[in-house]
């Protein structure tokens, strides 16, 4: 009688990532590792991206998702994780339009579809 809704405990983005992997899709996982200022998504937020550019979750208020998806597609190809930084002092932030302000650090890693 302790719990009746354990499925609600599972991070929906991770659940989606796993579902994609089990369907044989190639997936990358982006995670906010650090934020400063008015970054809208907290550290720990996830976004899962497939090789086709489908995605679930968010890592900002919508301003850097496009750049993160591009990086995720590279990460899926190379198989090597990357770290990203977006901020108002960062030229890339202007390029992608980090209009929400603040600074966001991300890890973008491939989800290797094989057992360790």
């Amino acid at each position: 009688m302790e719990r009746d809704s354990t499925h609600r405990n599972v991070d929906p983005v991770l659940a989606q990532a796993l579902e994609w992997v089990e369907q044989g899709r190639r997936v990358a996982l982006a995670t906010v590792t650090r934020t400063w200022g008015s970054a809208p998504r907290r550290a720990g937020s996830h976004m899962a991206i497939t090789e086709r550019g489908d995605f679930a979750g968010s890592v900002s208020g919508g301003c850097i998702e496009g750049a993160v998806i591009r990086t995720a597609l590279e990460v899926i190809e190379t198989g090597a994780p990357r770290t990203l930084e977006f901020g108002v002092t960062n030229e890339m932030a202007w390029e992608v339009g980090l209009a929400c302000g603040g600074t966001v650090h991300l890890l973008v890693e491939p989800v290797a579809n094989r057992e360790a």
């Binding site: 354990t6 599972v10 991770l14 659940a15 796993l18 992997v21 770290t83 890693e109």
Partner: protein
């Protein structure tokens, strides 16, 4: 991350086990640990049972980055959601249950009155038709549990509040005017609770936003509960 680790992480959350995923940011090397782990490959000396960063992440649920000689390691805790026990299957509870669920709480409604605690009135919540003093001990409220009493009936609210005061609940609230609260304080004092202890009870309940309707009161209560959770 390999697929096996992702599967393990999702399974841990589904089972309600609190875990931390450690990731070395320079090369993506990862390790999944829990409170029982005694040594970590990625965080030297970060024993979960001690006051280390892994223990802190498990306690607060807040991710952190620790510096090691091998580079920065990101600690992402995945812990069970906070719980909210609502005593009284009343109109405010009907609004509070979906709001608290959306905000990420695992919600339980207690009411011994069968006519109130029906599945029709609470389609999405776990509803327990028992006297709160019988049940709250079983629910074992901890530091990540909030308890709010909404019945207006001292025969139901008082035993719930007594059980709540004996727990480490991060939030205790009780519906009722200042006059009702004063009378309640006296009863709890007679039951042996110190004034300091009784001060843990938020009452009148909810942030003072001038709430009038049951739905507005639910907003005020939930805001106060979140404030207490994040302050702790």
């Amino acid at each position: 991350m390999n697929a096996g680790l992702l599967r393990e992480l999702v399974a841990a959350q589904a089972d309600g086990r609190d875990v931390v995923l450690a990731t070395r940011l320079s090369d993506g090397v990862q390790e999944l640990v829990d409170a029982e782990a005694t040594s970590y490959r990625l965080v030297p000396g970060g024993n979960a049972s001690a006051d280390g960063p892994v223990a802190g992440a498990l306690r607060t649920g807040v991710p952190t980055t620790v510096e090691t000689t091998e580079g920065d390691v990101f600690l992402r805790p995945y812990i069970r959601p906070p719980r909210l026990i609502i005593v009284g299957a009343v109109h405010i509870a009907q609004a509070l249950v979906p709001m608290a669920t959306i905000a990420g709480f695992q919600v339980t409604v207690l009411d011994p009155r069968e006519g109130f605690a029906t599945p029709e009135r609470f389609p999405d919540a776990r509803v327990v038709i028992e006297w709160p003093d019988d049940v709250i001990g079983t629910l074992a409220p901890d530091r990540r549990t909030g308890i709010v009493a909404l019945t207006h009936d001292p025969r139901i609210d008082d035993p719930a509040l007594i059980a709540a005061l004996r727990s480490e609940a991060f939030y205790i609230g009780a519906l009722g005017s200042r006059k009702t609260q004063g009378a309640r304080r006296e009863r709890l004092a007679e039951a042996g609770f110190s004034a300091e202890s009784v001060e843990r009870i938020h009452g009148p309940v909810g942030l003072p936003i001038g709430a009038r309707t049951p739905e507005e009161i639910a907003v005020a209560v939930l805001a106060q509960v979140i404030g207490a959770l994040r302050a702790g």
